[in-house]
């Protein structure tokens, strides 16, 4: 469907960058922004994440997919400092990030959103946005008491916030409490707020879940725009049509491991991926038990 002559520059750039990358788990990328090695997180007897090696390409949109419980959110939590791994190292922009607390991770340019939206309910929408501004002088206690020290900076931040609110069609809600927004609007607000940090990479955990279809289209548009601005996006999504529509690269997780990587088309045709999704139906009633067993056996060999 994508007409080569009308392809956006960002899309073309990423196609070029990823054209020689092998479609296999742990594939090295020419210019990775994030490189993770042997990241393991266990909850009691359950190994929620066990990622051997993964690289996220810079400047593109990478989808992280996988059945429920695959460990995607846990992996996000580990990378962003919201959870601590049992083992593992990772670098972001070449700097080691393991053990760095969450707020410092954000300050280094890696900002995430949450699967369960975290709107700051009793703050106005515009104040939610302003909070994202970094390096604010007025956020230091003694300086906060003297408005003259921060008023100028506050004005700049507010202008940037208003621009983003307009882009995300939330400008009419500017003065409302964030708690009065709908679920979809909260997702939008959370994403816009993350962009206030001006990160190098945004990590969106199911940004489209619960967003109505009309809004989804505009959200997808925003994500694509980020790529055109050169930002790196890593996002978790279940809807395969959306993944196909916007992502340059897809990483598939199942049972804590990265089981496949590649462009959307190759990944979705990959038997291991189909298997991982089928295997997730533990009720087994929808499938011929023999077929499921065969697929699972195949999946186990593929894991080795």
């Amino acid at each position: 469907m994508a007409d080569e002559t009308t392809v956006a520059p960002g899309v073309a750039r990423m196609r070029e960058a990823l054209k020689d990358v092998p479609h296999e788990p742990g594939a090295p990328k020419p210019d990775p922004i994030l490189v993770a090695d042997k990241v393991v997180r266990r909850f009691g007897g359950l190994t929620a994440v066990s990622v051997d090696h993964v690289e996220i390409p810079r400047g593109g949109i990478t989808a992280l997919i996988g059945p429920n419980g695959a460990g995607k959110t846990t992996f996000f939590n580990l990378l962003t400092g919201f959870d601590k791994p049992d083992e593992g190292d990772w670098t972001f922009n070449g700097k080691p990030l393991a053990g760095v607390p969450a707020h410092k991770v954000a300050n280094q340019g890696m900002v995430r959103t949450f699967q369960l939206t975290k709107a700051l309910s009793r703050l106005k929408v515009i104040d939610n946005m302003r909070l994202g501004g970094t390096g604010q002088r007025g956020e230091k206690f003694w300086q906060s008491l003297i408005p003259a020290l921060w008023r100028g900076q506050e004005k700049e931040i507010t202008e940037r916030a208003d621009d983003l609110l307009a882009r995300f069609k939330l400008d009419a809600k500017r003065e409302d409490f964030a708690g009065s927004l709908s679920g979809g609007q909260r997702k939008l607000l959370e994403m816009a707020r993350a962009l206030m940090v001006q990160p190098d990479m945004v990590m969106l955990d199911e940004p489209m879940a619960g967003v109505n279809p009309a809004l989804t289209q505009s959200l997808l548009g925003h994500v694509k725009d980020l790529r055109e601005d050169g930002m790196t996006v890593l996002f978790v999504e279940h809807d395969m049509d959306m993944v196909r529509d916007i992502s340059d690269w897809v990483i598939v997780m199942a049972q804590g491991k990265v089981i496949a990587e590649g462009t959307p088309d190759t990944v979705m045709a990959d038997p291991r991926v189909i298997d991982a999704y089928l295997g997730a139906h533990h009720d087994g009633t929808e499938h011929d038990p023999d077929v499921v067993a065969a697929l699972e056996a195949e999946g186990e060999t593929a894991d080795e």
Partner: protein
């Protein structure tokens, strides 16, 4: 019934030193609870540490008054650090448990026999406020109609109201600034604030210190107005009255604690004056209540009032009901 006395006493408690001490304590607690969402159930300890810091410095060690104030303030900061460092990284309820325990520990230390050489044990300490009263510019009482304040009380009130003014100005300036925005955001959702690059633990510590220091001013006023410190003043019920006052005035409202304290003490003084009078005049039969029981009934009525307040006006006097009722998802 002598309405002049009843109303006189009630009106005095709108402005007197007890009201001021509680207002200052509640201004500090409002920073913790109202703005930051910190469940500090040991605010009384901040007042106690400040009051004893002052009293011990002067009465026990014979050091100058101003040094007593400095040590009292430093004591509040140290207490905030001691409470905050182990708990602020943990879930919110840990702070509640630790503060309520710490406040009791502080009180028991003040009244312990083995430390009584320095603290005066359960009798407490006196004679630390002479230097303060030497500066008293008032020589005659203030009489306006039925209201009457003696010169010593007037002097403490003057300083107390000045401290309220300064405290409110600090809270007002801080809370409308980007610093206050971070503080209020932490109340809503810590992880969201963290994800935006703010050092949440550091902000909670700053809030704990600020609210503790503001509260400690109430401790000074309380100690100076009575020219004495006593350990059992600084019990947990002290903190619960402060919570009542904060909620009554409206949490996270700049003037809430002051108005809350005024209403709280006005009502309590009025009930405590009206009930005994009504009993002696025979308006209330003695089988229902004797004059000695009237004081306890006063607190029962205040408690019942608080319950009604939380049901019908959870936002307090100044709050915005819409805001309070927002779901915190």
């Amino acid at each position: 019934m002598n309405w002049d006395i009843i109303f006189g006493v009630s009106l005095e408690s709108l402005f007197n030193t007890t009201m001021i001490a509680y207002a200052l304590a509640a201004i500090g607690l409002n920073v913790h609870f109202g703005y930051t969402g910190l469940l500090n159930f040991g605010q009384s300890a901040f007042l106690g540490v400040a009051a004893y810091g002052l009293a011990m410095t002067v009465a026990t060690f014979g050091a100058p008054f101003w040094l007593g104030i400095v040590i009292g303030l430093a004591g509040a900061v140290v207490l905030a650090l001691l409470l905050g460092i182990p708990t602020l990284r943990l879930r919110a309820d840990y702070l509640a448990i630790v503060t309520i325990a710490a406040a009791e520990i502080v009180r028991l230390l003040f009244r312990s026999v083995s430390l009584s050489e320095w603290t005066g044990g359960s009798d407490g300490l006196q004679s630390f406020s002479d230097d303060f009263y030497k500066l008293n510019p008032y020589s005659s009482p203030l009489k306006i109609g039925i209201v009457d304040f003696d010169p010593r009380e007037l002097w403490v009130m003057t300083i107390g109201w000045a401290l309220i003014g300064i405290s409110l100005l600090i809270v007002f300036l801080a809370m409308r600034s980007p610093w206050g925005r971070v503080i209020k955001a932490i109340r809503e959702d810590e992880d969201a604030v963290r994800s935006l690059g703010k050092n949440v633990v550091s902000y909670k510590m700053q809030s704990l210190i600020l609210g503790g220091v503001l509260g400690s001013l109430g401790g000074f006023i309380f100690a100076l107005s009575r020219a004495a410190v006593q350990p059992d003043t600084y019990g947990t019920e002290f903190t619960f009255y402060m919570y009542t006052i904060v909620i009554l005035g409206g949490a996270a409202r700049v003037f809430g604690p002051v108005v809350g304290s005024m209403i709280f003490w006005f009502l309590l003084a009025f009930i405590n004056a009206v009930l005994p009078a009504a009993i002696t005049q025979g308006y209330i039969p003695t089988w229902l209540m004797t004059p000695t029981q009237a004081g306890a009934v006063g607190y029962i009525l205040v408690g019942a009032g608080l319950v009604l307040l939380l049901i019908y006006r959870p936002q307090g006097i100044f709050g915005d009901r819409k805001e309070v009722m927002l779901d915190g998802r």
